[in-house]
Every structure is written in structure tokens, then in C-alpha cells.
Subunit: 334 residues, 2 copies
């Protein structure tokens, strides 16, 4: 499954930037794949792309109408249906990361069939996947891991890929969540894979490659997460990472959605991920720390980054402030 | 989902005892729930039950026609279809742990609908399940864990339940695999649950209970398994076990289906499971070792049991040889 590019990014009537975060992220990380954005009256979000009608986008070569909003509960707004039908008629595919499946709308599904167009509901895995083998395969892999969910693992992986490429390295971002999949144009929504096949799906996602090629794999959750650790463990073991980058938010006291459960410490989380990863790659190690300091001012952030580097003896970055240089240097030497 | 009892155990034309191991196990662990067995010409297996026709079983009160064979690849023999149709007509439900779903046979599905009978394909989970919360809940739980797959975790859990009940304790076997589910009459086939919901499914399986009630939970795989660790980790964290029993086969050098990968050691496996379990139950610990000595003679087995107890300082049993006494005593004191 590869989503055709370039995209027309649909921002709907998103009431703020956060409600269109998928579309905004695609424009940020894959600007070259976006011909424009389509916004409905009242839309308060802006991905910084030219505003185009469906017809203008089709004329500009758009191949996929990409739903870039995150509606509440992931529901598809039925009022968007007419737009989707027209997009299909104009020769565009449709891609969506929403919870509700576009392909479950009968009129849209029928129109896609009539016009021989594809619908990509990227929360639905394209199995079947094999059982993981645990066998070592060529190519290098770096996996972002973290102390909690929604903390910056996708952002860190994308920033690493960009800077690794800029440094002349062969690097490919590998997506494991819906936003990452829409950015990459392919990937596997790991949280929706059947339990027995998690590691096998990841082995499929980042298969054997050239010895000097790096897969930069988007992490999920944490192996210390009481709800989602099964996903993370399967991901870590399937990835067989040579290197891991630990993502942490120093301003977050408690885990998301888990009441007053404290976020585990960096040292404990490093130890847990290294123990897990070494089941399939005995040389796996955490090679750097990526701090999400978005809630700190510049001075406090830089002080926290320096303090963390010092405390753990590991290169420490905030990709949004400092770039990934020190970690890319380590990877380049591996 | 609760499968109606008593059962008629169908052994098909199983060419040996192993090919009918599901039926044999049900007769071993739940003899009181079985009215008889049905064998086709050429069947070489015997669950030790009276041989009955469908009509005799129905007259004897059988409520479910239970497919007790493990055909190659889990395929349903189409020739069995006439038997299933007649069983439904006689008022029996159908239960199966095979890979192919009975409910996917159109004629059988239609007959079940016509006669208002249930089809239990126990490899198919009855979701949706919630996301795990990690919140502590009342009741005590013991989970069997192990150094590999197919090593005796279900057997140990069933033996523990039986002896705990005999010792006057309130204990309930909780099944996580298809054979266990058919024995218990309910449970969740954990390997088929969607990744995000593994821990939540287990929280559903062994919910809050009386403070002195023990759930005796069937383990799966091992947290050190390169293919299936995601399942195990979700199970361990969802179970929040107060106690774990480590199951090991001292005669197995390499892990099943993984080439020459050695079986991890007992000490390493205990450490990994305790670290995982303490994410949701800080007091979790391995309280005993259950050895599968089926490939040793009696003297070698008893020596190995004594040596293991001495080496790890933990009560060590083989439930098939020694019973579970020393471990039941520990649990009784908790």
C-alpha cells in the first residue's frame, strides 16, 4: 500500500490548528508532496498551503484527497461526503486517518469502485502479517522510544530522518501510526494489528536492507505502559533496533489518561527498553535523549537539555530547538 | 460467552491421541461436564468416555457438540458438516477451537439460526474490549508464566486450580487460549485480540473479586519471546498477578519454531516477568517453579526438581508427578 502523491490537504471546518494537526504535520514534513489545502467556511486552521478548489487541485496534479482533520472521536462528517464524491469523480483517491472508515460510507465506496479509485483508511491494517521470526536481517535501524504516549516519538523520528538525509545518510522513516502513515504515504497502524502478529508486522515494515541503510522507525507508547506495553514490546522486538532514542517530556508529571500514575523515570525506561530490545538484537542500546521542551521557555529548555545530557552521559536534544546533530553524529559512526 | 454443558466430545477420525488432544484434555480436566465421545471409523484416539451416537448424546442431555480434534492447520473437515447439522437439529450448540470458523460454513450457520442454536468459534474474541487501566482491583491472582510456548502453562494452571479448591480455597481457572476456553467453557483467545486491547481484555477476564478469591490465569508464551512477547506482556500487565509460577522444561534446549535460539534461563525469565508485572502490581513475584519433566524418567525427574528448588530457593513441582502442594501452601499464606 502506497498512497499516491501529491496530496490535496482537506482541513474541513477545523476550529483551531490542533483540530487539523494531521494536515498541518503533513505540510510541515512533506511540503513537497502537497499541492494545496481545501478549507470550508469557518475553518480556523492553516497548513500554510495555497487554498485550492477540488477542480484547481485536480488540474494542479493532485492524486489524493487527504483528510487532515482530527474530528472528535474520529468521526467522519457526513457533510464531507459530497466533496469526496466529487474528488473521486475528478480522479483523486481518498486517504483518511480517522476512526470511522471512509470505505464504510456506501455512496463513497460505490463511487470509488465506479471511478477505479482507491480509499486508504490508514487505521485499518493491510494484513495478513507473518509471525515474527526474531532472525537478524541486514540494514541498520533506529527506533524512537519514550516514557509515555503522545510525547514526540513521531516528531523525533521525522526530524532524525531529515537530518540524517541532509548528512548524506540513507534513511527511511517507517510509520507505525496513522499520522505517520499519511506523512510517509505507507506504514502499518500497529495498534490495530492482531496481538500474535505485532512483531511480524514490524519485521515486514522494516525488512532486510542495504548494510548502510537506516530505517528510522516511529515508536509507540512505552514498554512500561500498563495499557499499551504489548504494542511497544512487539514493536521493539520486531524492529531489532541497533539504536534507540529516548523521548521524554520533563514537564509532564503523570501519564496521559492514567490518572495520577507518574511518568516513569528516564533511567528506568532506558533499562526496560534495552532489556526488551536485546531479546532480538544483543547490541541494542539507547544512544541519545530527545526532550520535548515545548512547555519551557528557551533558557529553561536549554538548561534542562544540558542537565539531562550531563546526568545520563548521552547526547541530548530537542529536535524543535536544537536539531538532532549530536544524535545523528552518533548514528553516523555506527 | 459461556458454552453450555454437558459436552459431547467429537474426536473425528484422529489418527492418534495427540490429534485429539483438545478432547482428551477436556475429559481429563472436566470429566463431570462430558456425557460421552463420538468417534468416526478409524479413530485411534480415546478420551476414556462412553461412545455415543448423536441421538444417544442428545437423550443423555448433551448441550454442546464440542470438536475435540486438532486437524492439520486447524481446518474443518467438510465431511463433518452433516454431523454438525444433525447435532444442531437435535438441539445441541457447536463449539470449536479450530482455526477455520464453523460459523463460516454457510449451511451450518443457517441451520444454527434456524434451530436457534449457538456456534462458539473460540479462537474468535468476543470484543470489543476496553483499553487497560492498570488500576488495582480486589481479589488475588496467580498467573502461570514460562520460558517458552507449549511448555505446560495451561496444565499447571488447571492443576493449581484443582488443588487450591481441594485445599478449600476459592479459585477460578481463567482461560486465555482455545483449549483452555473449551475446558473452562469461557475465556478470551488472547492471541487474536487487537494489540491496543490486550491488557484491557485481561482486565475483563479476571475482574474485581472477593478479597480472598484467587483467579488462576493461564499464561501464554514468554516476555522473552521474539514473536509473541507482546501478547505475554499485555497479559502480565493486565493480570496484575500477586503471584507467578514459572513453567520450564529442563530437556528443551531450543525454543519451539525458532531454529537454534536457546530457551532462556529460569533466572533471566523470572527477572523479566517480575519487572514486567511490577508495572501494575509492585508486589508481584514468582513464588514457585513448575517443571515439565515428561521426557525424564522418575529418578532423573525427581533429582531435577530437587536441584531446581535448591538452586532458586523456590518451591518446585511437576504437577503431573508431585502435585502442586508446596506452591498451593505458599498461595494459601498470601
Amino acid at each position: 500500500m502506497q498512497i499516491r502523491t501529491p496530496y490535496l490537504i482537506f482541513l474541513g471546518d477545523a476550529h483551531d490548528q490542533l483540530a487539523a494537526k494531521t494536515g498541518v504535520a503533513i505540510a510541515e514534513w512533506r511540503r513537497e508532496l502537497c499541492v494545496g489545502q481545501l478549507r470550508l467556511p469557518g475553518c480556523q486552521a492553516d497548513a500554510g498551503l495555497p487554498d485550492l478548489t477540488l477542480e484547481e487541485a485536480a488540474a494542479a496534479g493532485a492524486k489524493t484527497f487527504l483528510i487532515g482533520t482530527t474530528t472528535r472521536g474520529g468521526r467522519i462528517n457526513e457533510a464531507w461526503q459530497q466533496l469526496m464524491l466529487r474528488a473521486l469523480e475528478l480522479g483523486l483517491d481518498i486517504a483518511s486517518g480517522l476512526h470511522d472508515r471512509v470505505a464504510d460510507l456506501p455512496a463513497v465506496r460505490e463511487a470509488a469502485s465506479l471511478f477505479h479509485r482507491a480509499i486508504h483508511d490508514v487505521r485499518t491494517p493491510h494484513g495478513p502479517f507473518p509471525v515474527g521470526t526474531g532472525l537478524r536481517r541486514p540494514g541498520k535501524r533506529v527506533l524512537t522510544v519514550g516514557t509515555d504516549c503522545s510525547i514526540g516519538k513521531m516528531y523525533t523520528a521525522l526530524a532524525l530522518e531529515r537530518e540524517m538525509k541532509a548528512a548524506g545518510m540513507a534513511a527511511t522513516f517507517r510509520a507505525t501510526g496513522q499520522t505517520g502513515i499519511l506523512i510517509a504515504g505507507s506504514g502499518i497502524p500497529l495498534d490495530a494489528v492482531v496481538a500474535d502478529f505485532i512483531a511480524g508486522a514490524v519485521e515486514t515494515l522494516c525488512p532486510a536492507n542495504d548494510p548502510d541503510h537506516w530505517d528510522v522507525i516511529e515508536g509507540q507508547a512505552t514498554v512500561l505502559h500498563p495499557s499499551y506495553a504489548g504494542v511497544t514490546v512487539g514493536l521493539v522486538m520486531g524492529a531489532q533496533p541497533d539504536a534507540m532514542v529516548m523521548v521524554h517530556d520533563p514537564t509532564r508529571p503523570t501519564m496521559r489518561g492514567l490518572g495520577d500514575r507518574p511518568v516513569p523515570g528516564i533511567a528506568e525506561t532506558i533499562e526496560a527498553h534495552e532489556a526488551c530490545a536485546r531479546v532480538t538484537n544483543p547490541r541494542a542500546k539507547v544512544v541519545g535523549i530527545s526532550l520535548n521542551t515545548s512547555r519551557l521557555d528557551e533558557a529553561a529548555a536549554m538548561a534542562e537539555i544540558a542537565r539531562t545530557a550531563d546526568r545520563f552521559g548521552l547526547p541530548t536534544i530537542d529536535p524543535a530547538r536544537t536539531g538532532c546533530g549530536p544524535i545523528v553524529s552518533v548514528l553516523k559512526g555506527m
